[in-house]
Protein backbone atom coordinates (compact mmCIF):
# COMPACT_ATOMS: atom_id res chain seq x y z
CA UNK A 1 0.00 0.00 0.00
CA UNK A 2 1.66 3.18 -1.10
CA UNK A 3 0.90 6.83 -0.87
CA UNK A 4 -2.14 6.36 1.29
CA UNK A 5 -3.87 9.61 1.78
CA UNK A 6 -7.17 10.59 3.21
CA UNK A 7 -9.79 12.97 1.94
CA UNK A 8 -13.46 13.71 2.29
CA UNK A 9 -15.70 11.38 0.25
CA UNK A 10 -19.01 12.23 -1.33
CA UNK A 11 -21.26 9.62 -2.87
CA UNK A 12 -18.71 6.84 -2.61
CA UNK A 13 -20.75 3.81 -1.67
CA UNK A 14 -18.25 1.11 -2.72
CA UNK A 15 -14.51 1.17 -3.51
CA UNK A 16 -13.76 2.83 -6.82
CA UNK A 17 -10.85 1.75 -8.96
CA UNK A 18 -9.91 3.94 -11.90
CA UNK A 19 -7.25 5.48 -14.08
CA UNK A 20 -6.29 9.09 -13.42
CA UNK A 21 -7.25 11.45 -16.18
CA UNK A 22 -6.18 15.10 -16.28
CA UNK A 23 -8.69 17.44 -17.71
CA UNK A 24 -8.72 18.70 -20.34
CA UNK A 25 -5.90 16.66 -21.86
CA UNK A 26 -7.86 13.63 -22.94
CA UNK A 27 -11.42 12.39 -23.13
CA UNK A 28 -12.17 10.43 -19.98
CA UNK A 29 -13.78 6.98 -20.13
CA UNK A 30 -15.86 5.08 -17.64
CA UNK A 31 -12.71 3.64 -16.05
CA UNK A 32 -11.35 7.10 -15.50
CA UNK A 33 -11.11 9.20 -12.41
CA UNK A 34 -10.85 12.85 -13.29
CA UNK A 35 -8.28 14.78 -11.29
CA UNK A 36 -9.16 18.42 -10.80
CA UNK A 37 -6.48 20.70 -9.49
CA UNK A 38 -8.96 22.92 -7.69
CA UNK A 39 -12.58 23.23 -6.75
CA UNK A 40 -14.37 24.37 -9.82
CA UNK A 41 -16.92 22.96 -12.13
CA UNK A 42 -15.74 22.32 -15.62
CA UNK A 43 -18.19 23.09 -18.35
CA UNK A 44 -18.78 19.47 -19.21
CA UNK A 45 -18.11 16.33 -17.28
CA UNK A 46 -18.54 12.85 -18.78
CA UNK A 47 -21.50 11.36 -16.91
CA UNK A 48 -19.87 7.87 -17.06
CA UNK A 49 -16.76 8.86 -15.11
CA UNK A 50 -15.90 6.42 -12.33
CA UNK A 51 -15.12 9.27 -10.01
CA UNK A 52 -13.58 12.67 -9.44
CA UNK A 53 -10.71 13.73 -7.21
CA UNK A 54 -10.48 17.39 -6.33
CA UNK A 55 -7.42 19.06 -4.84
CA UNK A 56 -8.90 21.69 -2.61
CA UNK A 57 -6.17 24.29 -3.17
CA UNK A 58 -8.48 27.21 -2.57
CA UNK A 59 -9.59 25.63 0.65
CA UNK A 60 -13.21 26.40 0.01
CA UNK A 61 -15.92 24.75 1.98
CA UNK A 62 -17.34 21.80 0.12
CA UNK A 63 -20.90 20.69 0.16
CA UNK A 64 -21.34 17.85 -2.31
CA UNK A 65 -20.08 15.80 -5.20
CA UNK A 66 -18.96 17.29 -8.49
CA UNK A 67 -21.53 16.88 -11.25
CA UNK A 68 -23.21 14.10 -9.37
CA UNK A 69 -20.22 11.81 -9.70
CA UNK A 70 -18.55 10.03 -6.73
CA UNK A 71 -16.05 12.61 -5.53
CA UNK A 72 -13.10 12.78 -3.17
CA UNK A 73 -11.89 16.14 -1.87
CA UNK A 74 -8.18 16.01 -1.03
CA UNK A 75 -6.52 18.65 1.07
CA UNK A 76 -3.17 16.81 1.12
CA UNK A 77 -1.48 18.69 -1.71
CA UNK A 78 1.84 16.79 -1.54
CA UNK A 79 0.39 13.65 -3.05
CA UNK A 80 1.85 12.91 -6.48
CA UNK A 81 -0.70 11.79 -8.97
CA UNK A 82 0.05 11.49 -12.64
CA UNK A 83 -1.99 10.76 -15.69
CA UNK A 84 -2.79 7.06 -16.05
CA UNK A 85 -1.86 6.19 -12.49
CA UNK A 86 -4.46 3.71 -11.28
CA UNK A 87 -5.92 4.47 -7.87
CA UNK A 88 -8.52 3.14 -5.47
CA UNK A 89 -10.83 5.39 -3.51
CA UNK A 90 -12.18 3.60 -0.47
CA UNK A 91 -15.53 4.40 1.09
CA UNK A 92 -13.87 5.99 4.11
CA UNK A 93 -12.11 8.52 1.90
CA UNK A 94 -8.67 6.89 1.77
CA UNK A 95 -6.96 7.19 -1.58
CA UNK A 96 -4.54 4.45 -2.54
CA UNK A 97 -2.23 4.43 -5.57
CA UNK A 98 -2.40 0.91 -6.98
CA UNK A 99 -0.33 1.17 -10.18
CA UNK A 100 2.03 3.69 -11.74
CA UNK A 101 2.86 3.18 -15.42
CA UNK A 102 6.10 5.15 -14.99
CA UNK A 103 7.34 2.78 -12.31
CA UNK A 104 9.04 -0.56 -12.86
CA UNK A 105 8.03 -1.73 -9.41
CA UNK A 106 4.29 -2.27 -9.45
CA UNK A 107 2.58 -5.00 -7.45
CA UNK A 108 -0.86 -6.37 -6.77
CA UNK A 109 -1.25 -6.16 -3.02
CA UNK A 110 -3.41 -9.08 -1.93
CA UNK A 111 -3.52 -9.15 1.89
CA UNK A 112 -1.92 -7.81 5.03
CA UNK A 113 -2.13 -11.21 6.72
CA UNK A 114 0.83 -13.56 6.96
CA UNK A 115 1.62 -16.93 8.48
CA UNK A 116 5.07 -15.78 9.55
CA UNK A 117 6.33 -12.79 11.46
CA UNK A 118 9.89 -12.45 10.23
CA UNK A 119 12.37 -10.44 12.25
CA UNK A 120 13.30 -8.38 9.22
CA UNK A 121 9.85 -7.96 7.69
CA UNK A 122 9.59 -4.50 6.19
CA UNK A 123 5.82 -4.69 6.09
CA UNK A 124 4.74 -6.39 9.30
CA UNK A 125 1.58 -8.45 9.00
CA UNK A 126 -1.76 -7.42 10.43
CA UNK A 127 -4.55 -9.75 11.40
CA UNK A 128 -7.56 -8.58 9.48
CA UNK A 129 -10.28 -9.81 7.23
CA UNK A 130 -9.04 -8.23 4.03
CA UNK A 131 -8.70 -11.08 1.57
CA UNK A 132 -12.08 -10.81 -0.16
CA UNK A 133 -11.94 -7.03 -0.12
CA UNK A 134 -8.51 -6.83 -1.71
CA UNK A 135 -9.40 -9.54 -4.21
CA UNK A 136 -12.35 -7.43 -5.36
CA UNK A 137 -10.07 -4.41 -5.77
CA UNK A 138 -7.52 -6.42 -7.73
CA UNK A 139 -10.22 -7.87 -9.95
CA UNK A 140 -11.07 -4.31 -10.96
CA UNK A 141 -7.44 -3.27 -11.21
CA UNK A 142 -6.06 -5.99 -13.48
CA UNK A 143 -8.13 -5.13 -16.57
CA UNK A 144 -6.92 -1.51 -16.33
CA UNK A 145 -3.22 -2.32 -16.29
CA UNK A 146 -1.57 -1.57 -19.64
CA UNK A 147 -0.94 -4.75 -21.61
CA UNK A 148 2.62 -3.74 -22.40
CA UNK A 149 3.58 -3.70 -18.72
CA UNK A 150 6.78 -5.71 -18.47
CA UNK A 151 6.71 -6.83 -14.86
CA UNK A 152 4.16 -7.03 -12.07
CA UNK A 153 4.47 -8.37 -8.53
CA UNK A 154 1.95 -10.16 -6.37
CA UNK A 155 2.68 -9.40 -2.72
CA UNK A 156 1.28 -9.09 0.75
CA UNK A 157 1.49 -10.34 3.55
CA UNK A 158 1.39 -13.89 2.31
CA UNK A 159 -0.35 -14.44 -1.05
CA UNK A 160 -0.96 -18.15 -0.50
CA UNK A 161 -3.40 -17.24 2.28
CA UNK A 162 -5.78 -16.47 -0.58
CA UNK A 163 -6.18 -20.21 -1.10
CA UNK A 164 -7.97 -20.88 -4.40
CA UNK A 165 -8.32 -17.13 -5.00
CA UNK A 166 -4.62 -16.99 -5.81
CA UNK A 167 -4.95 -19.15 -8.88
CA UNK A 168 -8.07 -17.22 -9.78
CA UNK A 169 -6.05 -14.04 -9.65
CA UNK A 170 -3.27 -15.58 -11.73
CA UNK A 171 -5.85 -16.64 -14.31
CA UNK A 172 -7.13 -13.11 -14.55
CA UNK A 173 -3.60 -11.81 -14.91
CA UNK A 174 -2.86 -14.40 -17.58
CA UNK A 175 -5.96 -13.37 -19.49
CA UNK A 176 -5.45 -9.61 -19.41
CA UNK A 177 -1.65 -9.44 -19.29
CA UNK A 178 -0.35 -12.49 -21.15
CA UNK A 179 3.04 -10.92 -21.83
CA UNK A 180 3.73 -9.53 -18.38
CA UNK A 181 6.32 -11.27 -16.19
CA UNK A 182 4.71 -11.95 -12.82
CA UNK A 183 6.66 -12.37 -9.60
CA UNK A 184 4.79 -13.77 -6.61
CA UNK A 185 6.53 -13.09 -3.29
CA UNK A 186 5.67 -15.93 -0.95
CA UNK A 187 7.12 -18.11 1.79
CA UNK A 188 5.75 -21.15 -0.12
CA UNK A 189 4.74 -22.89 3.12
CA UNK A 190 1.26 -23.59 1.79
CA UNK A 191 2.86 -25.31 -1.19
CA UNK A 192 4.03 -28.12 1.04
CA UNK A 193 0.61 -29.41 0.09
CA UNK A 194 0.65 -30.64 -3.50
CA UNK A 195 -3.04 -29.80 -3.94
CA UNK A 196 -2.23 -26.11 -3.59
CA UNK A 197 0.52 -26.44 -6.17
CA UNK A 198 -1.65 -28.31 -8.62
CA UNK A 199 -4.14 -25.43 -8.59
CA UNK A 200 -1.34 -23.09 -9.61
CA UNK A 201 -0.09 -25.47 -12.24
CA UNK A 202 -3.54 -25.72 -13.75
CA UNK A 203 -3.54 -22.00 -14.52
CA UNK A 204 -0.70 -22.75 -16.95
CA UNK A 205 0.68 -19.26 -16.70
CA UNK A 206 4.08 -19.46 -18.39
CA UNK A 207 5.47 -16.21 -17.06
CA UNK A 208 5.21 -16.59 -13.30
CA UNK A 209 8.18 -16.85 -10.96
CA UNK A 210 7.90 -17.41 -7.22
CA UNK A 211 10.26 -15.34 -5.06
CA UNK A 212 10.84 -17.26 -1.85
CA UNK A 213 12.93 -16.21 1.16
CA UNK A 214 15.33 -18.75 2.66
CA UNK A 215 17.34 -17.76 5.71
CA UNK A 216 19.48 -20.75 6.45
CA UNK A 217 20.36 -24.34 5.70
CA UNK A 218 18.68 -25.76 8.77
CA UNK A 219 15.43 -25.34 10.65
CA UNK A 220 16.44 -23.82 13.95
CA UNK A 221 18.05 -20.76 12.38
CA UNK A 222 15.49 -20.31 9.61
CA UNK A 223 12.56 -20.69 12.02
CA UNK A 224 14.20 -18.25 14.43
CA UNK A 225 14.15 -15.62 11.70
CA UNK A 226 10.56 -16.33 10.65
CA UNK A 227 9.48 -16.62 14.28
CA UNK A 228 7.44 -19.60 13.21
CA UNK A 229 8.11 -23.28 13.81
CA UNK A 230 8.07 -25.78 10.92
CA UNK A 231 8.48 -22.91 8.47
CA UNK A 232 11.81 -24.25 7.15
CA UNK A 233 10.46 -27.72 6.50
CA UNK A 234 7.34 -26.37 4.85
CA UNK A 235 9.18 -23.81 2.73
CA UNK A 236 11.78 -26.26 1.43
CA UNK A 237 9.10 -28.85 0.72
CA UNK A 238 7.02 -26.14 -0.95
CA UNK A 239 9.97 -25.24 -3.17
CA UNK A 240 10.33 -28.86 -4.20
CA UNK A 241 6.65 -29.26 -4.90
CA UNK A 242 6.56 -26.12 -7.00
CA UNK A 243 9.37 -27.52 -9.12
CA UNK A 244 7.68 -30.88 -9.49
CA UNK A 245 4.80 -29.05 -11.08
CA UNK A 246 6.94 -26.96 -13.41
CA UNK A 247 6.93 -23.66 -11.54
CA UNK A 248 9.88 -21.25 -11.59
CA UNK A 249 11.66 -20.24 -8.42
CA UNK A 250 13.88 -17.44 -7.15
CA UNK A 251 15.44 -17.75 -3.71
CA UNK A 252 15.83 -14.56 -1.68
CA UNK A 253 18.32 -14.35 1.18
CA UNK A 254 18.05 -11.29 3.38
CA UNK A 255 21.44 -10.36 4.78
CA UNK A 256 21.07 -10.00 8.53
CA UNK A 257 23.40 -10.71 11.41
CA UNK A 258 22.17 -14.13 12.58
CA UNK A 259 22.54 -15.60 9.09
CA UNK A 260 25.66 -14.11 7.55
CA UNK A 261 28.20 -16.50 9.09
CA UNK A 262 26.53 -19.41 7.30
CA UNK A 263 26.06 -17.75 3.91
CA UNK A 264 28.45 -20.03 2.11
CA UNK A 265 26.86 -23.11 3.65
CA UNK A 266 23.47 -21.80 2.65
CA UNK A 267 24.72 -21.39 -0.90
CA UNK A 268 25.88 -24.98 -0.88
CA UNK A 269 22.57 -26.10 0.56
CA UNK A 270 20.74 -24.32 -2.25
CA UNK A 271 22.93 -25.83 -4.94
CA UNK A 272 22.70 -29.35 -3.56
CA UNK A 273 19.03 -29.39 -2.68
CA UNK A 274 17.43 -27.06 -5.19
CA UNK A 275 19.81 -26.74 -8.15
CA UNK A 276 16.81 -26.05 -10.38
CA UNK A 277 16.17 -22.55 -9.00
CA UNK A 278 16.31 -19.87 -11.63
CA UNK A 279 17.99 -17.20 -9.56
CA UNK A 280 19.31 -16.41 -6.08
CA UNK A 281 19.16 -12.87 -4.71
CA UNK A 282 21.17 -11.74 -1.69
CA UNK A 283 19.38 -8.72 -0.31
CA UNK A 284 20.45 -5.90 1.96
CA UNK A 285 18.23 -5.15 4.94
CA UNK A 286 15.51 -2.55 4.70
CA UNK A 287 15.44 -0.82 8.09
CA UNK A 288 11.71 -0.45 8.40
CA UNK A 289 8.82 -2.35 9.97
CA UNK A 290 9.92 -5.33 12.06
CA UNK A 291 13.50 -4.75 10.92
CA UNK A 292 13.53 -1.38 12.61
CA UNK A 293 12.11 -2.90 15.79
CA UNK A 294 14.72 -5.67 15.84
CA UNK A 295 17.50 -3.54 14.44
CA UNK A 296 19.83 -4.22 17.33
CA UNK A 297 19.64 -7.99 16.76
CA UNK A 298 19.79 -8.09 13.01
CA UNK A 299 21.71 -5.11 11.73
CA UNK A 300 25.11 -5.88 10.28
CA UNK A 301 27.70 -3.85 8.43
CA UNK A 302 28.19 -5.22 4.91
CA UNK A 303 31.95 -4.95 5.26
CA UNK A 304 31.81 -7.54 8.03
CA UNK A 305 30.19 -10.16 5.83
CA UNK A 306 31.82 -9.37 2.53
CA UNK A 307 33.99 -12.51 2.59
CA UNK A 308 31.07 -14.82 3.29
CA UNK A 309 28.98 -13.07 0.67
CA UNK A 310 31.71 -13.37 -1.91
CA UNK A 311 32.13 -17.08 -1.22
CA UNK A 312 28.41 -17.69 -1.45
CA UNK A 313 27.99 -15.66 -4.65
CA UNK A 314 31.00 -17.35 -6.21
CA UNK A 315 29.89 -20.86 -5.34
CA UNK A 316 26.47 -20.40 -6.90
CA UNK A 317 27.79 -18.53 -9.88
CA UNK A 318 30.47 -21.12 -10.69
CA UNK A 319 27.87 -23.84 -10.27
CA UNK A 320 25.73 -22.25 -12.95
CA UNK A 321 23.01 -20.62 -10.85
CA UNK A 322 22.45 -16.92 -11.68
CA UNK A 323 23.07 -14.69 -8.65
CA UNK A 324 22.37 -11.07 -7.83
CA UNK A 325 22.99 -8.73 -4.95
CA UNK A 326 20.05 -6.45 -4.22
CA UNK A 327 19.60 -3.37 -2.07
CA UNK A 328 23.26 -2.65 -1.40
CA UNK A 329 25.02 0.39 -2.85
CA UNK A 330 28.22 -0.35 -4.73
CA UNK A 331 30.38 1.53 -2.27
CA UNK A 332 29.87 -0.95 0.55
CA UNK A 333 31.16 -3.86 -1.53
CA UNK A 334 34.44 -4.43 -3.28
CA UNK A 335 34.44 -4.04 -7.03
CA UNK A 336 34.63 -7.74 -7.85
CA UNK A 337 31.06 -8.06 -6.56
CA UNK A 338 29.69 -5.11 -8.53
CA UNK A 339 28.80 -7.20 -11.60
CA UNK A 340 26.25 -8.96 -9.39
CA UNK A 341 24.68 -5.78 -7.98
CA UNK A 342 21.32 -4.81 -9.41
CA UNK A 343 19.35 -1.60 -9.07
CA UNK A 344 16.62 -3.25 -7.10
CA UNK A 345 15.25 -0.75 -4.61
CA UNK A 346 11.81 0.36 -5.76
CA UNK A 347 11.96 3.77 -7.28
CA UNK A 348 9.52 5.23 -4.81
CA UNK A 349 11.79 4.39 -1.87
CA UNK A 350 15.23 4.80 -3.39
CA UNK A 351 17.48 7.67 -2.41
CA UNK A 352 21.05 8.76 -2.79
CA UNK A 353 23.30 10.81 -0.58
CA UNK A 354 24.39 14.26 -1.75
CA UNK A 355 27.94 13.01 -2.06
CA UNK A 356 26.81 10.31 -4.50
CA UNK A 357 26.81 12.78 -7.38
CA UNK A 358 30.63 12.70 -7.26
CA UNK A 359 30.71 8.90 -7.45
CA UNK A 360 32.22 7.22 -10.50
CA UNK A 361 29.66 4.45 -10.53
CA UNK A 362 26.64 6.53 -9.62
CA UNK A 363 24.75 5.65 -12.77
CA UNK A 364 24.69 1.92 -12.08
CA UNK A 365 24.35 2.01 -8.32
CA UNK A 366 21.10 0.95 -6.70
CA UNK A 367 21.27 3.54 -3.95
CA UNK A 368 19.90 3.36 -0.42
CA UNK A 369 16.54 2.73 1.17
CA UNK A 370 14.79 5.90 2.18
CA UNK A 371 14.24 4.40 5.62
CA UNK A 372 18.01 4.16 6.03
CA UNK A 373 18.08 7.89 6.52
CA UNK A 374 15.97 7.80 9.63
CA UNK A 375 17.90 4.97 11.20
CA UNK A 376 21.15 6.78 10.51
CA UNK A 377 22.61 4.26 8.08
CA UNK A 378 23.22 6.40 5.04
CA UNK A 379 26.99 5.91 4.81
CA UNK A 380 27.87 6.73 1.25
CA UNK A 381 31.51 6.61 0.11
CA UNK A 382 31.75 7.84 -3.41
CA UNK A 383 34.04 5.82 -5.60
CA UNK A 384 36.73 7.86 -7.28
Amino acid sequence: MINGSRGIPFGITHPIVGRISLSPIETPTRDSILLLEDVFSPKTINPDLAGVIVRNRSKVAISGPVAGRPTLFLSDLRLQLEMHDIVAIHTDGTLETLFRPNSRDNSLFVTDNCNCNCLMCSQPPKTCNDIQYRFAINEKLVPLIPAQTETLGITGGEPTLLGPLLSKLLSAVKGYLPNTEIQVLTNARAFSSTDAVKQIRNVEHRKVIFGIPLNSDHSSLHDYITQSSNSFAQTVTGIHNLTRYDQRIEIRVILQRPVVRRLRKLAEFIFRNMPFVEHVAFMGLEPTGNAAVHWGDICVDPSSYETELREAVELLSISGIPVSIFNLPNCVLSSDLWPFCKQSISDWKRIYDDSCSRCKVFSRCGGFFESARTIGRLKAEPVS
Binding site: N115, T127, N230, S231, Q234
Partner: protein, 121 residues
Protein backbone atom coordinates in the same frame (compact mmCIF):
# COMPACT_ATOMS: atom_id res chain seq x y z
CA UNK B 1 39.55 -56.79 24.18
CA UNK B 2 42.73 -58.88 24.36
CA UNK B 3 45.33 -58.99 21.64
CA UNK B 4 48.09 -61.56 22.04
CA UNK B 5 50.84 -62.97 19.92
CA UNK B 6 50.88 -66.77 20.15
CA UNK B 7 53.50 -68.41 17.98
CA UNK B 8 52.67 -67.23 14.46
CA UNK B 9 49.16 -66.15 15.23
CA UNK B 10 47.82 -62.89 16.41
CA UNK B 11 44.86 -63.71 18.62
CA UNK B 12 42.20 -61.09 19.13
CA UNK B 13 39.54 -61.81 21.71
CA UNK B 14 36.47 -59.62 22.11
CA UNK B 15 33.14 -59.76 23.88
CA UNK B 16 30.57 -60.73 21.25
CA UNK B 17 28.13 -58.52 23.07
CA UNK B 18 30.31 -55.53 22.22
CA UNK B 19 31.61 -56.59 18.81
CA UNK B 20 29.20 -58.91 17.00
CA UNK B 21 30.29 -61.53 14.50
CA UNK B 22 29.02 -59.20 11.74
CA UNK B 23 31.33 -56.48 12.93
CA UNK B 24 34.25 -58.89 13.19
CA UNK B 25 33.72 -60.18 9.67
CA UNK B 26 33.41 -56.75 8.15
CA UNK B 27 36.42 -55.45 10.02
CA UNK B 28 38.80 -58.30 9.38
CA UNK B 29 37.70 -58.68 5.74
CA UNK B 30 40.16 -55.91 5.09
CA UNK B 31 43.05 -57.81 6.61
CA UNK B 32 42.62 -60.58 4.05
CA UNK B 33 45.37 -59.39 1.72
CA UNK B 34 48.17 -59.62 4.24
CA UNK B 35 46.75 -62.21 6.64
CA UNK B 36 44.93 -65.50 6.74
CA UNK B 37 41.89 -64.77 8.86
CA UNK B 38 39.87 -67.19 10.98
CA UNK B 39 36.92 -66.11 13.06
CA UNK B 40 35.55 -68.37 15.79
CA UNK B 41 33.55 -68.20 18.97
CA UNK B 42 34.83 -69.27 22.38
CA UNK B 43 32.50 -70.20 25.20
CA UNK B 44 29.59 -68.64 23.40
CA UNK B 45 30.34 -65.09 24.50
CA UNK B 46 33.85 -64.51 23.18
CA UNK B 47 34.74 -63.80 19.58
CA UNK B 48 38.18 -65.04 18.60
CA UNK B 49 39.99 -63.75 15.52
CA UNK B 50 43.14 -65.54 14.41
CA UNK B 51 45.42 -63.62 12.08
CA UNK B 52 48.32 -65.44 10.46
CA UNK B 53 50.58 -63.37 8.21
CA UNK B 54 50.73 -64.65 4.65
CA UNK B 55 54.36 -63.69 4.32
CA UNK B 56 56.91 -63.75 7.09
CA UNK B 57 56.04 -63.37 10.76
CA UNK B 58 54.75 -60.62 13.00
CA UNK B 59 57.61 -58.72 14.52
CA UNK B 60 57.31 -57.88 18.23
CA UNK B 61 58.13 -54.28 17.36
CA UNK B 62 55.22 -54.10 14.95
CA UNK B 63 52.83 -55.60 17.46
CA UNK B 64 52.12 -52.23 19.05
CA UNK B 65 51.10 -50.44 15.87
CA UNK B 66 49.18 -53.46 14.61
CA UNK B 67 47.22 -53.67 17.86
CA UNK B 68 46.44 -49.98 17.63
CA UNK B 69 45.20 -50.39 14.11
CA UNK B 70 43.03 -53.34 15.11
CA UNK B 71 41.47 -51.49 18.03
CA UNK B 72 40.79 -48.43 15.93
CA UNK B 73 39.35 -50.46 13.04
CA UNK B 74 37.10 -52.41 15.38
CA UNK B 75 35.71 -49.21 16.83
CA UNK B 76 35.09 -47.82 13.34
CA UNK B 77 33.25 -50.93 12.21
CA UNK B 78 31.25 -50.99 15.42
CA UNK B 79 30.20 -47.39 14.76
CA UNK B 80 29.25 -48.35 11.21
CA UNK B 81 27.20 -51.24 12.53
CA UNK B 82 25.33 -48.96 14.92
CA UNK B 83 24.49 -46.56 12.10
CA UNK B 84 23.31 -49.42 9.88
CA UNK B 85 21.08 -50.80 12.64
CA UNK B 86 19.64 -47.47 13.73
CA UNK B 87 18.99 -46.17 10.25
CA UNK B 88 17.77 -49.33 8.55
CA UNK B 89 14.12 -48.25 8.51
CA UNK B 90 14.73 -44.69 7.38
CA UNK B 91 17.01 -45.90 4.63
CA UNK B 92 14.45 -48.42 3.37
CA UNK B 93 11.79 -45.72 3.45
CA UNK B 94 14.04 -43.27 1.63
CA UNK B 95 14.78 -45.68 -1.19
CA UNK B 96 11.17 -46.80 -1.47
CA UNK B 97 10.12 -43.18 -1.83
CA UNK B 98 12.91 -42.47 -4.28
CA UNK B 99 11.68 -45.08 -6.71
CA UNK B 100 7.94 -44.74 -6.12
CA UNK B 101 6.04 -43.41 -9.11
CA UNK B 102 3.15 -41.66 -7.44
CA UNK B 103 2.39 -38.94 -4.91
CA UNK B 104 0.85 -41.33 -2.43
CA UNK B 105 4.21 -42.00 -0.84
CA UNK B 106 4.64 -38.33 0.04
CA UNK B 107 5.01 -37.61 3.73
CA UNK B 108 2.95 -34.56 4.74
CA UNK B 109 4.99 -31.90 6.43
CA UNK B 110 3.67 -31.18 9.91
CA UNK B 111 1.25 -28.30 10.04
CA UNK B 112 0.16 -27.08 13.46
CA UNK B 113 -2.96 -24.95 13.73
CA UNK B 114 -0.75 -22.12 15.01
CA UNK B 115 1.28 -22.15 11.80
CA UNK B 116 -1.38 -20.26 9.91
CA UNK B 117 -3.01 -18.56 12.80
CA UNK B 118 -3.30 -14.83 12.95
CA UNK B 119 -2.53 -14.58 16.63
CA UNK B 120 0.36 -12.18 16.66
CA UNK B 121 -0.22 -8.89 18.34
Amino acid sequence: MRIELRQDNLEVRVQLQTYSLDVLHKCFYWYGEDFSVDIETENGSIGLVLLRPKAGTIDESLLGSLSERIRSDLIDFKVRDIVTQETRNVRDLLIAKAFACTDEFDTPVPVQSTDIDHDHC
